[in-house]
């Protein structure tokens, strides 16, 4: 008797902790399998589109959460992505070497990260203003210096991972992608590991929760904040590189089109964790891909704007109904002053 009660309460606790993720995962899985049986080509197309649309979002979210875990709010992700996309594009035009171009884009993101860290850590500026400065700066600089008629030499091509790419359904979706998409997946795992299983990660979180305590124990608060924001910036730069060097292959003004801000939502949606952000980005990508697919089918005689709400509606429902309270790093957005 006693043991069954304990068992059920443990089960309840497990449900409470993981129920949402399990539920969403199960629904998605069943839908995918059903879709694959009905029409395999369409299902693969939708899932491939999901992964692709999730990539810049999850990279942006990683940038955001590295900063916020260390106590620096970064709303300049949009600007970091845009300027990096532009610089990467320019380097591709000038050198024709995609590797150099990707590197240049990441460096641009890192530099803007340094700029943000300087404003928010050293100058102790309002961090929202700091991020806005970056957004406006990027929009202005790229708008002014972009000239029509610059033509690039190709873009990053998909690399099939041997026999893995031949697995039905999963193969073409996960194991036949261009390099930045793979990098994004690896980065999710790396950032998760670093944040929660290393000394560096512990210090980062300490600096974001209680910088005074961390400082007392000899952690260099400024250094941790600088480093995390700069590394995050490089990741946002990669998101920019994804747009111009891998996905589109060309630059257009304001082409990030709000992806940096959606990335912020994805980060909060994912409870400031890399794995959560990944899940949220994939869910968002899936909703976008499905709304495109519904239009393709054209069988539903409802205005497409209505279908277009799908990703956002889904976000609101999941956020309001299931995710529950999110723990925000306690010192998030607060400048730290040494005594």
């Amino acid at each position: 008797m006693q043991s069954s009660i304990i068992g059920s309460s443990a089960f309840l606790r497990f449900l409470k902790r993981w129920g949402v993720n399990l539920g969403i995962g199960l629904v998605v899985l069943v839908t995918i399998i059903w879709g694959y049986i009905v029409n395999d080509k369409v299902t693969v197309a939708v899932l491939a589109s999901t992964v692709r649309q999730a990539t810049p979002l999850v990279l942006g979210a990683l940038c955001g959460l590295m900063g916020e875990r260390a106590g620096v709010i970064n709303i300049g992700i949009e600007g970091q992505m845009l300027l990096s996309a532009f610089i990467g594009f320019l380097f591709n035009v000038w050198t024709g070497n995609l590797l150099i171009a990707v590197f240049a884009a990441a460096m641009t993101g890192a530099l803007l990260g340094l700029f943000l860290a300087f404003m928010s850590v050293s100058l102790r500026m309002d961090q929202i203003i700091g991020g806005t400065v970056i957004n406006i700066l990027a929009l202005g600089l790229t708008g002014y210096f972009y000239q029509a008629g610059l033509v690039t030499q190709g873009k990053l091509q998909p690399i099939a991972l041997g026999s893995l790419a031949e697995i039905p359904l999963i193969g073409p979706v996960l194991f036949n992608n261009p390099p930045i998409t793979y990098t994004a997946i690896v980065l999710v795992l790396v950032v998760h590991y670093v944040l929660f299983h290393t000394r560096w990660g512990l210090r980062t979180r300490a600096v974001g929760e209680h910088p005074r305590a961390a400082d007392t124990l000899g952690v260099n608060v400024y250094l941790m904040r600088y480093a995390n924001v700069i590394i995050g910036g490089a990741i946002a730069g990669l998101a920019g590189a994804f747009l111009t060097l891998e996905a589109v292959g060309s630059f257009e003004r304001a082409m990030t089109n709000g992806r940096g801000f959606v990335a912020l939502a994805v980060m909060i949606f994912g409870r400031y964790t890399p794995l959560g952000a990944w899940g949220a980005a994939l869910l968002f990508g899936l909703a976008s891909a499905i709304q495109t697919q519904l239009q393709f089918f054209g069988t539903f005689n409802i205005p497409h704007q209505f279908i277009g709400m799908l990703p956002y509606l889904l976000t609101i429902i999941v956020l309001a109904g299931f995710v529950g309270r999110t723990h925000i790093p306690a010192a998030d957005g607060e400048p730290y002053e040494k005594e």
Partner: protein
């Protein structure tokens, strides 16, 4: 510390100024009106040294101003085509002074038009369906100025406004007929801007009708961008990923119609073996070189000659108000000229004739 704030402030201001004047300032700054209305995109380094003094208020000079829709004058699309029409008028000596203002925000339409009007410009070209209301209102305020309203259908005739419109459904129909004949898989796709803009809908409806005219059983998959006017034409990555999704499910011809969003679709299609793509508005062979591997043609509306013709009319005092229907046609096949069979070419020409004499109907707009 204060110095640093100053540097930051200076950077911020500089970036705003850069956004505001953009390329307009580098080419030829607009001389600012003395009572410039607020919230316009008047370049800040105003009263400028124009190469020679042209006073637009004087009847001796014929001045033409162009207000773009939200976007840039070098957008490889309709703003650029219209501006080229204005430049053509200048080259042929009709217009003595030509200027453009790039609209950054839809709320600035009226203010940007006024900027030219207050300087005594003789003709103002307003580009884009979205500017229709602002154009009509300002035309009432400035009855002595000619307004050339690109893509703006005039339901009622205003004496000093001519709406330059096109039968987009005709060139869309030709594009659809071409796509249906080129397709081997029997699935063709269209990746579109937004249906908030009637010309885009006309292109789409024409495309569908044209494809069905050739092959009634064709599988046609089309999608509009889900966003509003502010993002629907500037999202190349959405266009690209949507195109990929269409190609993955068997589409082998893609029609990209929607500014930069459509350009993204064309470039994506170019990266896929055995896929053809069709551009829109102008001959995109010239404007999107990245799409050369797939671009068989473009569903054009010939904005440039229509705009320069209307400027000519305004200068001669023979301005015809109401609606001016410009030409809509397919662009040359360029490198695909040898790929496309004579049979297909003949069929396209036959349809073009049919559309012209009315024996073939697209079914769009009644």
């Amino acid at each position: 510390m204060k110095k640093l704030y100053f540097v930051l402030a200076a950077l911020l201001v500089a970036s705003m100024v850069l956004t505001a004047c953009g390329p307009a300032a580098t080419e030829a700054p607009v001389p600012a009106a003395t009572e410039a209305p607020e919230a316009t995109e008047a370049p800040t380094e105003a009263p400028t040294e124009a190469p020679m003094e042209i006073d637009c208020t004087s009847p001796d000079y014929f001045c033409v101003g162009l207000v773009t829709d939200v976007g840039e004058v070098d957008d490889k699309s309709f703003n650029q085509s219209a501006w080229e029409g204005v430049l053509a008028a200048q080259d042929s000596g009709i217009a003595d002074e030509v200027q453009y203002i790039e609209t950054k925000d839809a709320k600035d339409y009226a203010a940007n038009i006024q900027l030219f009007a207050e300087q005594g410009y003789d003709a103002i070209v307003t580009v884009g369906y979205a500017m229709g209301q602002a154009t009509a209102e300002e035309a009432a305020n400035y009855p002595e100025i000619y307004f050339i309203a690109v893509d703006q259908f005039q339901a009622e005739t205003i004496d000093n406004v001519s709406g330059v419109i096109f039968n987009e459904d005709h060139s869309g129909f030709l594009a659809g007929a071409l796509a249906a004949q080129l397709s081997e898989s029997g699935t063709i796709a269209a990746v579109l801007g937004t249906d908030l803009v009637p010309p885009v809908v006309a292109f789409k409806e024409g495309y569908e009708a044209g494809a069905k005219y050739i092959n009634p059983d064709i599988n046609l998959i089309a999608t509009y961008h889900p966003g509003g006017l502010d993002v629907a034409f500037t999202d190349p990555e959405w266009g690209a990923t949507t195109t990929k999704q269409a190609i993955d499910q068997g589409a082998d011809v893609v029609f990209g119609a929607g500014g930069k969003t459509g350009n993204g679709a064309l470039i994506e299609a170019a990266g896929n073996e055995g896929v053809y793509c069709i551009g829109v508005d102008s001959d995109q062979w010239l404007s999107v070189p990245e799409a050369h591997p797939c671009l068989v043609s473009s569903a054009m509306k010939l904005i440039t000659p229509a705009v320069s013709q209307k400027i000519n009319e305004a200068n001669d005092g023979a301005f015809v108000p109401g609606n001016h229907i410009g030409a809509a046609a397919l662009a040359p096949y360029h490198d695909f000229d040898s790929v496309i069979s004579d049979e297909i070419k003949a069929k396209i020409e036959e349809i073009a004739e049919g559309l012209k004499d009315g024996s073939i109907k697209t079914g769009y707009g009644g």
